[in-house]
């Protein structure tokens, strides 16, 4: 054969980083540093708003991993928010444990209860799974309403000695020269920041791993993933338990900050699932960037429109429906397609270059 007509040999490489993702990583580090140092100059209102933004974002990342990647559309994640909160209250009020220790324990308890829960709800598929998880969350709510030691149906509050016993509050008071309530908020702020960064890092590195490849395949088409040897059930179970763990820890932190818990609030489908679903879907489901954008949009709406009460919720519901019908990949989907952007490079792309 004439060598001149042979196809030139090509070298194939698998790459993830792409375009703006390297500068984006540098910017992310600077933003993170800024957020860590923020309490030294920001006012208390901004700190409190950001705590709210952080835990909604962390919850949205968990739900996104669950629904956007593993295909487990749960309407019952409030079960683990409430469980985490109640475990924190039980451990600190009844057992006298330090709140900082109670947060990881809340995660462990959530994981331990997520396993038997999964055995039941995994018998339901698709949309029925969604309502099944909601029933389980209701069982948790009604169950905790029966626990008289934690206030039964009306709930209970953390004593000031518990909320003041978070380590570092004294240190923050002297370092930043603030009063105890402000120092409590700053401690919660740093905890929330650590948790949201931890959640983001977990999701990011999970998606870049071998299991992440399998999850992406499940997201794109479950049957095809199964035919390529992905063990669907065990991956879904692992994701369910992992997100329950993180959601439980976030719930513990939320109720440490709120210092008051009741079954109706802690297991609220609106607060801990509906909002989280709208954040994820409006931002863009099945991407890491989407929930971040969604959380910022949601925070701005909450800040400026929440006073309109029922109208605000009608608007939120309408926006969710419109996004789902007109732009199912969310705001981030629109942006990333138009400008070919990737901030968190989790997608593997095949690059070719001719052999010299």
């Amino acid at each position: 054969m004439d060598p001149g007509t042979a196809k030139p040999k090509q070298i194939f490489r698998i790459a993830t980083a792409h375009g703006v993702s390297r500068p984006a990583a540098a910017i992310a580090c600077i933003v993170l540093l800024g957020l860590v140092l923020l309490p030294t100059f920001a006012g208390r209102n901004l700190i409190q708003d950001l705590i709210f933004l952080f835990y909604m974002l962390a919850l949205a990342q968990c739900w996104n991993l669950l629904a956007g990647y593993a295909g487990l559309i749960s309407v019952g994640q409030q079960a683990f928010v409430g469980l985490g909160g109640y475990v924190l209250f039980a451990l600190t009020l009844v057992a006298g444990l330090n709140p900082l220790l109670a947060i990881p324990v809340a995660g462990i308890v959530s994981a331990a209860l997520a396993l038997p829960t999964a055995l039941i709800v995994f018998r339901l598929r698709g949309a029925y799974f969604a309502i099944g998880t909601w029933v389980v969350a209701e069982v948790y709510r009604l169950g905790f309403a029966q626990v008289k030691a934690l206030g039964g149906g009306t709930g209970t509050s953390l004593t000031p000695s518990v909320t003041a016993s978070v380590p570092g509050i004294e240190w923050i008071k002297t370092l930043l020269d603030v009063r105890t309530p402000a120092a409590r908020d700053i401690a919660s702020y740093w905890l929330a920041l650590a948790l949201v960064v931890g959640t983001l890092a977990f999701v990011y590195f999970l998606l870049r791993s071998r299991q992440g490849l399998a999850l992406g395949a499940i997201r794109d088409r479950e049957a095809a993933a199964a035919s390529l040897g992905v063990d669907i059930t065990s991956i879904k179970l692992a994701v369910y338990v992992a997100t329950a763990t993180m959601t439980g820890m976030i719930g513990a932190l939320i109720y440490l900050q709120k210092a008051r818990i009741s079954p109706d609030a802690a297991f609220s489908v609106l607060d801990w699932t509906a909002y989280v679903i709208f954040i994820t879907v409006i931002g863009g489901i099945g991407t890491i960037e989407g929930p971040i954008i969604g959380a910022v949009v949601f925070y701005l709406m909450q800040r400026y429109l929440a006073d309109f009460g029922a109208w605000y919720l009608i608007l939120l519901g309408t926006l969710g429906i419109l996004v789902m019908l007109l732009a199912p990949r969310g705001l981030w989907g629109l942006l990333s397609r138009r400008y070919d952007l990737t901030l968190f490079p989790t997608r593997r792309r095949l690059e070719t270059e001719p052999d010299e």
């Binding site: 949309a127 969604a130 609106l270 879907v281």
Partner: protein, 289 residues
Amino acid sequence: MIGLLDAIIQGILLGGLYALFATGLSLMFGVMRLVNLAHGDLIVLAAFVILAVTEKLGVDPFAAVLLAAPILFAIGFGLQHVLLNRTLGRDLLPPLLVTFGLSIIVQNGLLQMFSADSRRLRSGAIETASVSLGGDIAVGVVPLLTLVSAIAVIVALNFIFYRTSIGRAFRATSDDLDVAQLMGIDVNRTFAMAMGIAFVVIAIAALYLGLRANFDPTIGPARLLYAFEAVIIGGLGSFWGTLAGGIILGLAQTIGARIDPEWQILSGHLAFLLVLVIRPRGLFPRAID
């Protein structure tokens, strides 16, 4: 002993109400594989429509439901045609999210229009009338009518499904959507008809919801869960199974409430989870999926 017998009879009658809640959901799932998270809120919406008709025209709720049914049929037909048909496809998320959004819109819309006050449908003497069954047991006329209506609705739906041409279209789209389309069935219109009929069932369910107890805009999601539990306990694909599921749920709640009034709802949920553990496909399954 009389107490237990009484609880069983009341539980079966309560099951009639849950079967009415569940039949609409079962119909939507059966024909278009749609799981409607707004179902409970739509029942509450229908109750407010009936209330508005009774107040505006000064008629009895039983007459008002006859006027409200065509309105609700039209709402259901339009909702499916304009909105929900766009969400159906391979992906599960769009129908779930759109009906979830709808649930929030309906709930808060009702809150705006009718406030959070508890309301009730009034129908004079029939509300408190009861029939003695001998011994110390008596049953209310309204609970009895609820169960009779549930059975009548199921008989009527089975007639529509197995004896009419639109019913044949329902069964065809349910069995195989693609082949049904190839055979010239207008799927969008078929689905819209099914939703319209489901809304008439919702209107009947709402009548008894409003006659039996107080309602307010926030009680929808709990009704969705009862309806869903009845469908799953009974097994997918059979209206009679749904009736059985409703009755089992009603029995579990009533017997639980006799042990401790706070356990009523919880025992219903636990009975549902128990069935799920023992018989994941429900007690009388017919459809696969």
